[in-house]
């Protein structure tokens, strides 16, 4: 009997639980070995960049929530920092606003990494971790709700500061949570790190070298796990990150297990930064004193005619940055999140380009799975930590 040597083409997604959203992969298989993987994206395209050209700078903030919906405050942060840089008011942001931004950005990192770990472990067959991770994520979601009123689409940061101050008593809740987090991370590690099945499914799987990772543009923990010691928080600090003491976990192995270890270490560091931020938190203003950009206090709006006019002008007209262009990026949980803004002097950006980390990281997927087993594709999608909301924008 002749041996059948044909390859088989199968379609994975866009409706598939382990593609983490609406990702479609066309896989060409030779038996169980992947010959070629072609990602198809765009199923969630909402035209964020086009929409933002028809909105004032303040009206764009809610659009950024919906990019990486697992880490909304990181997106908010990158965007407001970009607009502040464009306006040239970076130095005028009050200390309290900066500290709260770091606090929330690090909670966001924990939130995003918890979902990553939960789904990644679930995909490879470890069900328990999923439940534990979502229990902790729920605490952060509650904090989100108390801070911004929303559990996912936070829309909390404003150009010039914050939309409102932290509610009373929340600091203790955040501190309790951040202090408990290292213990929880131990639990996850106890379930996974020494687990023979976990090791077999992750060690050596989805390997990518440092050079290949830089060439393909991979950033964030996925790059650091390949041995490139680069973190924007430390190397190009923003929002006062230079005042915090934290380590940048790096691994040389470049495989799925290394990325897992790096992200877990990042979660430990994130809880450290949260505690430091809580120590730094002093009473003070939360909005910059830039009347042309920020809204007046509500007291003035309801009691004085000047305040009302001021409020009205900013809401209806927005503010007009002078013509120019800037690029600002932040270390989002998934990698470098960049905003490239061009102003032509009008209240709406001429162009806003978002550099989403997941979009670029996903480009590395074919390299990481071709020639490997079909089952490893699942592990690699999980380890890349993609969110289709920001890939498709």
């Amino acid at each position: 009997m002749a041996v059948n040597t044909e390859t088989m083409t199968i379609n994975m997604g866009p409706q598939h639980p382990s593609t983490h959203g609406v990702l479609q992969l066309i896989l060409e298989l030779d038996g169980e070995v992947v010959q070629k993987a072609t990602p198809h994206i765009g199923f969630l395209h909402r035209g964020t960049e086009k929409l933002s050209e028809y909105r004032t700078y303040h009206q764009i903030i809610p659009l950024t929530d919906r990019l990486d919906y697992l880490a909304p405050m990181s997106n908010n942060l990158g965007y407001v920092l970009a607009v502040e840089k464009l306006l040239g008011i970076t130095d005028e942001i009050p200390e309290r606003a900066k500290v709260v931004r770091v606090l929330m950005a690090e909670l966001t990192r924990l939130k995003s990494h918890l979902v990553w770990l939960a789904c990644h472990a679930l995909d490879i067959g470890a069900m328990t971790v999923f439940l534990y991770c979502f229990r902790e994520r729920e605490c952060i979601t509650d904090i989100y709700e108390k801070v911004s009123g929303a559990r996912m689409t936070s829309n909390y940061f404003r150009v010039g500061g914050l939309s409102e101050d932290l509610p009373e008593g929340l600091e203790k809740e955040i501190r309790d949570f951040a202090e408990s987090m290292p213990g929880h991370i131990e639990t996850y590690e106890g379930l996974l790190t020494g687990n023979k099945i976990w090791q077999k499914r992750t060690i050596g799987v989805g390997h990518i070298s440092a050079e290949a990772a830089v060439d393909i543009g991979i950033t964030g923990p996925a790059l650091r796990a390949s041995g490139v010691d680069w973190d924007l928080r430390r190397d190009n600090p923003y929002s006062g990150y230079e005042d915090y003491d934290f380590d940048v976990p790096v691994s040389q192995d470049g495989d799925t297990f290394a990325r897992y270890k790096c992200r877990l270490d990042e979660m430990r560091q994130a809880s450290r930064i949260v505690l430091q931020a809580l120590d730094k938190l002093k009473p003070g203003p939360i909005l910059a004193d830039c009347p042309k950009v920020t809204l007046p206090p509500k007291q003035d709006v309801v009691n004085t005619i000047e305040g009302l006019i001021h409020h009205f002008k900013i809401i209806t007209e927005g503010f007009k940055p002078e013509p120019g262009e800037i690029y600002q990026s932040v270390e989002a949980p998934k990698g470098e999140l960049g905003y490239y803004l061009i102003s032509d002097g009008s209240p709406m950006p001429l162009r806003m380009k978002i550099r989403p980390p997941s979009f670029v990281n996903l480009q590395g997927l074919p390299q990481m799975v071709e020639g490997k087993l079909l089952a490893d594709v699942i592990a690699v999608i999980g380890t890349l930590d993609i969110v289709l909301g920001e890939i498709d924008r």
Partner: protein, 161 residues
């Protein structure tokens, strides 16, 4: 090496191709001729250490500047933690630009996106297909003359128009 030194180095090597140098908010932007972009990119990567192409995008200056389009490359040097922005002007009647996906692999998808949404044609690209929109889509939505609401519909009359 400071931004200034990089720019001087670039000017010394490609004096005819460097069109404009702008510094704004501490960021340096160099505008160069599009014919030289692959050579300049290779030079920036190999001799100046800009090993990471963070972002590549197209900008439409319809009615605001000529030539109409600009392709923007946001570069980063991981060792020196430095950024540089390179731009090439692209005329409306000739939207061809040489691909830099041979210089930085990451440009592959960025250029596909730029073709998809802005209609810049990257010559020599290994796989220039639409990436975000369906394959049979007509037009390039990020162009300024493409209506926000989509073709054949009432234009958006936002509160600011």
């Amino acid at each position: 090496m400071s931004d200034q030194a990089i720019v001087e180095k670039l000017k010394a090597k490609f004096s005819a191709a460097v069109l404009e140098i702008v510094e704004y908010r501490g960021e340096t932007t160099v505008t160069v001729e599009k014919e030289q972009i692959v050579k300049i990119s290779t030079f920036l990567r190999d001799d100046c250490g800009y090993n990471l192409l963070c972002d590549l995008c197209g900008v439409d200056y319809l009615g605001k500047a000529t030539p109409r389009f600009m392709v923007v490359y946001n570069l980063y040097n991981i060792a020196a933690k430095q950024r540089l922005r390179v731009k090439v002007p692209v005329a409306e009647d000739d939207t061809n630009v040489d691909t830099v996906s041979t210089v930085w692999g990451t440009a592959n998808w960025h250029e596909r996106e730029c073709w998809d949404l802005m209609g810049i044609n990257f010559k020599g690209h290994p796989d220039l297909r639409r990436i975000l929109l369906p394959a049979d889509w007509e037009g390039h939505p990020l162009r300024k003359d493409y209506p926000l609401q989509g073709p054949d519909r009432e234009p958006y009359k936002g509160r600011l128009s």
